[in-house]
Amino acid sequence: MADEVLHANVAARPAAPAVADIEVDRAELDASIANFVQQNAGYYQRIFHKIHDNTSGIPLTFNKAAALLGPLWAAARGVWGLFWGFLILEIIAWVQIGRGTWGELGAESLQQAVRQETRAQQFLERAEAARAAGEDPSRFETLGNNLMRAAERSREAADAAAADALMILASGLILLLILRVAQGIWSNIAYEKQYSDWRVTPERVPSGVNRLNTLFGAVLVVAVMPLTVYRFTVENVPDYLTAFPANSDYYTNTARWLEGQIDSAASAGAGTFDGIVFGVRSILDTVSLALIGTPWPVVMTVICVIAWRSAGPRVAIFTAAALAYIAFLGYWEIAMETVALVGAAVVLCVIIGIPLGIWFGKSMRAYKLAEPVLDLMQTLPAFVYLIPIIAFFGTGNPPGILATIIFGMPPVIRLTALGVRGVPDTIKEAASAFGASNWQILRDVEIPLALPSIMTGVNQTILMCLSMVVIISLIGGGGLGQVILEALQFAAKGPGLLGGFAILFVAMVIDRIVQGAFRRADLKR
């Protein structure tokens, strides 16, 4: 019965043509093209068909209007990519043409020749005077003759430069010609591409010849081209063209105002800032006491065992070697200070960052608001916020940790939010269908399912914090960063390299251990 139905359906339709015989509906296509180009429809219909029929390589058509008008054609038709590309290339050609035509290319050499000749003349006159006075004129004669020869060489250089002008002019003209031919060929291809885009999003892709676009293009051409050509061809350009007329008052006033604001904020919030510093310092002291106060054999053994348990014997061996390097070179204590600094920073990042990340993961609006701040924290160069940190928190290790937190916290926030947002709605729905409260859903579903992402965030944060080790030594942070800073100040190559490797090893050991631990946790899932 199923077969009958199938046959009935096939019979109801006309016989299907062979694939090779299927033709595009030209009338409809032509109407659409005409609707797109608006002017010169006949020409573009022909050209587009030719492009559509093309089977190999670049379809060779030539648009005379585009070749003749150059970027203006592209502007009129709204092909802005073509417009900008060729405008910039054409400026190069026009600058060459301008230099070849008006640029006094030998002028400098010629002036030098004249100066040298005058000087030579003076020496020769003095030689004459010396001879008249019965003294030895040979010294002045030699000088004068040398200068004369130099002047001759300068003149030759000037002549050569003047001859070069012709070459430059010719190269400019050839470049322009090539560019125009390229535009003639390429414009149709680009325009056909734009037509295809226009079919998909007609409201966003310009079509037809737009008077406003033409005007805009013309203004751009007029504004950009003559000024640039003028700048490169004329010898003495007026100052206002080379340097922006800046007013130094703006700078000093704004800077002074900012400084006043920061100072008053620092003194107004002194209590708060001191409290923060105190809190950070107590965390740091606890961590460093554990790392430095404990006898070194204990700490070393513990680190190696942790490495072995979390990441396997190979990492444990590497860790032992790295620790030996650090210890034998006498870096043990400062290396532990660095670990304490990074550790305290990471702990604070995680304590603050994960709850924030969960919040941002659940509230899109909060995330939208916070995102620019996170971007700023990551992109602002560290040196920039070191200065306000000194103003608010002073110098030393705690402000260093705060600077590290600013740079290191965004990844854990972002990746926690990403992980929480990625938890499938179906599983959350299932949990609430069984009567789970919001807190239970968070604890049993969202955090466990987001954990791989959160762990990646923590790892990223650790690495970011490690990268701040050297920078915070600028505001009095201790540890291995200080070794590097001192080495840098005295250009001490040996100590610098040794310290640098110590930081590298600390970073690699921490990274390997953390990654190993996370991989273990992942495998368990």
Partner: protein, 344 residues
């Protein structure tokens, strides 16, 4: 019919900012889906749905994707808030419940199974099944005991300590069913539980599930887009189209008396053999002398077509249909064939 466990009356769900106005407009006059979107910028998910499900009944809601069946069933445990209408579960008004009461209701009385299983990937099978109990703070020893017992009900002994991803799709869905049964709820909400499984496994699970539910006497709302499945499982079927319940009836009623062309088109391909009963197709006696039909076989009014074929195939006489021992009708071979065909 026994008491209604789940009762929905005039439930509307409209998505959009002007949901209330949309309902009012639709109640006072005609309002099509397109008009609702145009005038109120809102989408009608469920339109004026009313039904009640009796204790122990399997009530199927059948419709194609987008017909609003999943939306409708989520009103029962208020995963979705109704725009209008009342929903009563075990005699209590669900829409009037506070957050705590609602959680209580969900965790004690309603189990739910999802199309995409929605198991917790980081928990063992046992802990997944025990999760509804964990929410209720049942101690671990008790949880594990119940969980193991429930896994036994769905024939998953020996898989307690596996992770869900180590199980096949059919087994995962059985874990889902076990999880829904773990807190021993009166009501099961099945949201297309077998749609994502391959046909053979689906048939197996349908049979297992039917047997289990009738054994445990659970009231079940079963959502499906497959009419065959609805007919196999359901005591009654509601057919939905564009948010409207088009017809509610027993499988036989749906197949023999489709309410409109939409339902008719659906039931076309359904085999009537097991559904249509003798009393539906029989012709009245009209004074035919039954006694004269010597050796005619007799069948009860509830005999299905399949059995009637067995009866009449070796007999020269029509089959006599009886009701409480009285002869009430006749089914000749021609009648039987037409009955199989669906009547012409």
């Amino acid at each position: 019919m026994s008491e209604a466990v789940v009762e929905l009356s005039n439930v509307w769900k409209v998505f959009g900012k002007k949901a209330q106005q949309t309902v009012e407009a639709a109640n006072t006059g005609e309002l099509t889906k397109a008009q609702a979107l145009e005038e109120y910028d809102s989408v009608i998910g469920v339109r004026d749905a009313s039904f009640s499900v009796a204790r122990g009944e399997i009530f199927c809601i059948m419709g194609l994707s987008g017909s609003g069946k999943s939306t409708l069933v989520r009103h029962v445990n208020r995963l979705i808030e109704p725009t209008a209408g009342t929903i009563k579960v075990l005699g209590q008004d669900v829409s009037a419940m506070g957050a705590k009461e609602l959680r209580q209701m969900r965790s004690h009385h309603i189990g739910m199974v999802f199309q995409h299983m929605a198991l917790l990937p980081h928990r063992s099978v046992r802990d997944n099944v025990a999760y509804p109990l964990e929410i209720r703070n049942v101690p671990k020893s008790k949880r594990w005991a119940i969980s193991d017992h429930t896994l036994g009900l769905v024939n998953l002994e020996g898989y307690e300590d596996r992770l869900p991803r180590e199980l096949s799709g059919g087994m995962q869905q059985r874990v889902g069913i076990a999880r829904a049964l773990a807190s021993d709820p009166e009501i099961l909400l099945m949201d297309e539980p077998f749609s994502a499984l391959d046909p053979l496994i689906r048939l197996q699970l349908q049979d297992q599930f039917s047997a289990l539910v009738s054994e445990l006497k659970k009231t079940t709302l079963f959502i499906t887009h497959d009419l065959d499945e609805a007919i196999r499982m359901g005591h009654r079927i509601a057919i939905m189209k564009d948010g409207v319940i088009v017809q509610i009836g027993t499988p036989e009623e749906i197949v023999t008396k489709p309410a409109d062309d939409y339902v008719r088109e659906f039931v076309q391909g359904i085999s009537r053999l097991k559904l249509v009963k003798a009393h539906t197709i029989m012709e009245p006696l009209n004074g035919v002398d039954v006694a004269a039909l010597n050796g005619a076989l007799r069948a009860d009014g509830d005999t299905d077509l399949d059995a009637l074929i067995d009866l009449s195939v070796d007999s020269a006489h029509p089959v006599v249909v009886t009701d409480d021992g009285r002869d009430v009708g006749l089914i000749s071979k021609a009648t039987l064939l037409r009955g199989i065909q669906g009547g012409k």
